[in-house]
Subunit: 177 residues, 2 copies
């Protein structure tokens, strides 16, 4: 499965338009901890390893996600593999023993909206970075990527998005250091 | 928590003595897949990373276990960190992407017997290696290790064990190659 994801800079107006026009799925709180590989520079290989702790409606969930390099020059599309974790702290301890170093934890408030079958918009408020809008869809194969990217971009542009961003929140935060 | 574990070579007689004298907890089938670190030689650092798939009474469980170096010259005592996995195949895929290579899968039939509060004996039949007996207890701190090792060894000796083995099944199998 290929995750197609496009991200743009947002403001109060764009947030309001989404809130008025789409149905909210839920509000989530994310704590994303990113790890550096013991002997490979993820910044160079364009990979990522993340533990996400997600809270919503009193639930608590955690996931380990490997993100492969971007496979499309126009979006943030990557191959990703994700597994649920029942004990994220203990899992982080195993990663530490294996030489994976914690790079940073990104804190986020995310409102998710239903756009269309399989298409979701997220309004993200990122600690120290501000407001962003993401639109996401899943594609079965690489053939479908280009057209889907075009369609998703149009939706964002119609909502008033002018600047897109391919860098991850982690990258943006690291550049600010 | 420190896992204290002593292993000895066994035969039919030793297996019978255990079966007659202790209460069986259950019979388990293990498939243990061991991984090599992408940039560290676990054979040298005396560490291990394992995915265990365990079946018993129709149940299916999987765990990821990191084992640190042996901390006692007399036993197989190590620090270990273990987390349950809901999708071991997908987890193995993440490890592969991170550069961890599968070294070998060890298949085992294990009968577990209750000896005393916190003390368990396992009768192991290892594919290509034969019969072994393991006795295991958990210690809260390193101070308790020496005495516990002595006590566990005596129990095995009383059951007829003459030869002890500190090497893991993985190491024994790799030496046979």
């Amino acid at each position: 499965m290929i995750e197609i994801e496009i991200k743009g800079y947002a403001d109060d107006k764009i947030f309001s338009r989404v809130r008025e026009n789409f149905e909210m799925i839920r509000k989530e709180y994310h704590e994303d901890t990113y790890f550096q590989h013991p002997c490979r520079d993820f910044a160079e290989t364009d990979e990522a390893l993340r533990i996400r702790v997600r809270r919503f409606n009193g639930h608590f969930e955690a996931f380990l996600t490997y993100k492969g390099p971007k496979i499309d020059s126009n979006s943030k599309t990557r191959r990703e593999i994700e597994v649920p974790l029942s004990d994220p702290d203990k899992h982080a301890e195993i990663l530490a023993r294996l030489g994976f170093r914690e790079v940073m934890t990104v804190e986020k408030v995310r409102e998710k909206y239903y756009v269309d079958k399989g298409v979701v918009i997220a309004l993200d408020e990122i600690d120290r970075l501000g407001k962003f809008i993401e639109i996401e869809a899943l594609a079965e194969s690489e053939d479908a990527v280009e057209e889907t990217v075009k369609r998703l971009k149009e939706i964002l542009e119609n909502l008033g998005v002018k600047h897109f961003e391919r860098r991850s929140y982690l990258e943006l935060l690291l550049e600010r250091r």
